[in-house]
């Protein structure tokens, strides 16, 4: 997994609440190999049925070109567990997502792919989105070690992140490898469970 340390990049606002992972990548793209899922990125959200860019969609605005951060709204990336929602955003250049809250499964999936989901208070996130609309192309700076986000207005907020997830991201650690280091504990658990729940 790629490490995540600091990121200073253009951020694109998406105002809708409850943006579900079906919007991030429609189901019809899921059966494809990952390299052919790239175009599925917000496909129907960005384009009309004739393949023309929809009006008023920030993701279609060239002023946000090169964005690596999405600033969303409440319950961002809710719904389906499809990890493709994270990987297709990664493959389109995104590494961090800022919102008041996230779908729980998406939130976990981010850490599996070197991405940082950041929860900030709803009013602050709303303010950042307004600024990004007013100044398309403005940047946000994220420092994971310091746990800070500096908005396009220069205001810095601190954010919470689980120490375990932070450490894994900073190192770009391999989670399976780390867990295998607990082999003795897992074996002990299994031996005990075999006695206690022999029917499983």
């Amino acid at each position: 997994m790629d490490a995540f340390t600091t990121l200073k990049a253009v951020a694109v606002p998406i105002d809708q609440a409850n943006v579900d992972t079906d919007q991030i990548i429609p189901a019809r793209f899921l059966g494809r190999t990952r390299d052919r899922q790239v175009e599925g990125f917000f496909h129907d959200f960005r384009l009309d049925p004739n393949g023309r860019p929809r009006e008023g969609v920030t993701l279609n605005n060239p002023a946000y070109k090169g964005a690596k951060i999405i600033v969303g709204n409440t319950n961002f990336a809710c719904g389906s567990s499809r990890e493709n929602a994270v990987t297709t955003m990664v493959d389109n250049g995104f590494r961090s997502f800022i919102a008041p809250s996230f779908g729980d499964i998406f939130f976990n999936n981010c850490f599996q792919n070197g991405c940082l989901p950041i929860r900030l208070p709803a009013d602050r996130v709303a303010r950042i989105r307004v600024i990004l609309h007013e100044l398309p192309g403005a940047e946000i700076a994220i420092d994971l070690a310091k746990q800070t986000v500096t908005g396009p207005d220069g205001k810095t907020d601190s954010f919470e992140v689980d120490p375990f997830r932070k450490e894994m991201l900073l190192k770009g650690a391999d989670e399976v490898k780390i867990t295998l280091g607990y082999e003795a504990d897992i074996k002990r658990f299994e031996d005990r469970q075999k006695q206690e729940m022999p029917w499983l």
């Binding site: 105002d15 809708q16 609440a17 409850n18 579900d20 079906d22 919007q23 429609p26 189901a27 019809r28 899921l30 059966g31 494809r32 190999t33 990952r34 129907d44 959200f45 049925p49 709204n73 409440t74 319950n75 809710c78 719904g79 389906s80 567990s81 499809r82 990890e83 493709n84 994270v86 809250s101 996230f102 779908g103 729980d104 499964i105 998406f106 976990n108 999936n109 599996q112 792919n113 709303a126 689980d162 120490p163 375990f164 997830r165 989670e175 399976v176 867990t179 295998l180 607990y182 504990d185 897992i186 658990f189 299994e190 469970q193 206690e196 729940m197 022999p198 029917w199 499983l200």
Partner: protein, 466 residues
């Protein structure tokens, strides 16, 4: 004396392998369910030169990509064909129990797990699918995970988790006739919102929940994810035990007695506290129907399409306007009477025998005015329905009786609507484009879907059944 504990707390504590000082827990996973979308996770496992740590704790069935008009894996789409063949190859290689196409036990994984007795009280269960919350109906801690975590479970039989918060939803009182688990969960989501339970494990309690059949509880827990919940659970009781008794993978003989003794200790203890409490009055729940593009956009069939002008804030107003535009609905329109183009009865939410019985009771002696599909949740559900003559009732009423799979809930197998169509669906998500680009989905119970089929519009099913 220890403080009284919730069911969730007890199951969690029992499965802790390692508690790190930083608040992260390595949790043991008792059961891992797989489907035809799981093969990339297996490929990553193989790339590490590893096999499944506990193939004996895994089970699989193809559901997402299977066709519902035939049982062949020889489907036109090369990617889908590969996925359908991979699951067979992978399970054979890894020694995982597989209910493959052609096996009567094949079906939607969240129907098959409980039906086979693989989902059990007091256990932890995961699957690379968000509707894994379904299995909590048996008193399990069951939740959906992403593909990387699937690989992690295959490799280690464990997951790193931060303990979620707990929420109890108490539904007391008596349900009106023909009000189902689907109406209850839609009413709950309408009350707390699509993000209402984010970060929480939900426990459903109260007399109305106790009175639900296992099928009703499975429907209820299935849509916990639609309220944002990490998982949903119902305490195991006699309904649960009777359901499990005799199921192929349920414990037998002396093990049954041992399991029963344990299962009875699983429910939440009196006096245990939850981080969040929500209550609903069962008597106030009517047949529910969604009007928008999130499951929280829901109201009674006797309600009217809401007006964005009544929204509590500009953001919500904008969302409502966008939803109504997509759904092609005008504020103030009575829900009862809105014309429907197609009906889908199926999905991991509502494709079990009780669901099909409820729909058949409405279809019986009537004729569908619009295309209507019935997709049983598994080969065994289909077989049972046919033994009861339900297929005959559906066919005589002009409904299409199809083979088991996820079908039009997600549409990846090609079962989708056409842009502009309005569908009465017993599935779980009315998201934009969920059932096809431009398709308008309304979530309802099986009886309500059948009522829409035979009248051609949404209507209160109680008017048909008296």
């Amino acid at each position: 004396m220890t403080a009284p504990r919730t069911m969730f707390e007890k199951i969690w504590q029992r499965h802790v392998v390692v508690d790190r000082p930083d608040g992260y827990t390595l949790l043991y996973i008792d059961r891992h369910l797989m489907h035809d979308g799981s093969s990339p996770a297996y490929a990553r496992l193989k790339a590490r030169g590893m096999g499944l740590r506990r193939a004996d704790r895994a089970a699989a069935t193809p559901d997402h990509y299977v066709k519902t008009d035939h049982r062949s894996k020889d489907v036109p789409d090369a990617d889908h064909r590969r996925l359908l063949n991979d699951i067979t190859k992978n399970c054979n290689e890894a020694g995982v129990t597989l209910f493959d196409l052609g096996d009567v036990r094949q079906g939607i994984i969240h129907v098959v797990g409980p039906e086979q007795g693989l989902s059990q009280p007091g256990t932890t269960l995961v699957c690379g699918d968000s509707h894994t919350s379904t299995h909590g109906a048996l008193g399990a801690l069951a939740f959906g995970i992403g593909s990387s975590e699937v690989t992690h479970v295959m490799a280690t039989q464990c997951l790193w988790q931060r303990k979620p918060k707990s929420m109890r939803i108490t539904v007391d009182g008596t349900l009106h006739p023909h009000i189902t688990g689907k109406d209850i969960i839609l009413a709950i989501i309408g009350k707390i919102g699509a993000a209402g339970a984010v970060g929480h494990v939900m426990e459903y309690a109260g007399s109305a929940i106790r009175g639900l059949s296992m099928e009703g509880r499975l429907t209820l827990c299935n849509m916990s994810i639609e309220a944002g919940g990490r998982a949903g659970m119902v305490a195991p009781d006699d309904t649960t035990f009777q359901y499990l008794n005799g199921k192929p993978f349920a414990p037998k003989g002396a093990n049954w007695d041992k399991a029963m003794a344990f299962w009875k200790t699983v429910p939440t203890e009196d006096g245990a506290t939850f981080d969040t409490e929500v209550t609903l009055n069962a008597a106030e729940i009517a047949p529910m129907v969604t009007w928008g593009t999130s499951p929280e956009d829901v109201l009674s069939i006797n309600g009217r399409v809401p007006d964005p002008a009544s929204a509590p804030n500009p953001g919500k107003q904008e969302n409502m306007k966008r939803a109504l535009e997509y759904m092609d609905l005008k504020p103030g329109t009575p829900m009862d009477g809105i014309a429907v183009d197609k009906v889908f009865i199926g999905s991991c939410t509502n494709s079990r025998i009780e669901d099909l019985r409820a729909a058949a009771a409405v279809a019986k002696g009537r004729k569908a005015k619009i295309p209507a599909w019935v997709v049983a949740g598994s080969g065994l559900v289909k077989q049972q329905a046919e033994a009861e003559g339900l297929d005959k009732i559906f066919r005589e009423a002009g409904f299409d009786w199809r083979e088991p799979g996820c079908s039009m809930c997600i549409g990846v197998n090609g079962d989708t609507g056409v842009a502009g169509q309005r569908i009465a669906s017993t599935s779980n998500r009315n998201f934009v484009g969920r059932q096809g680009v431009g398709v308008r989905t309304h979530l309802v119970s099986p009886a309500m879907a059948a009522a829409a089929a035979v009248t051609g519009h949404f209507t209160d099913v109680r008017k048909l059944l008296g």
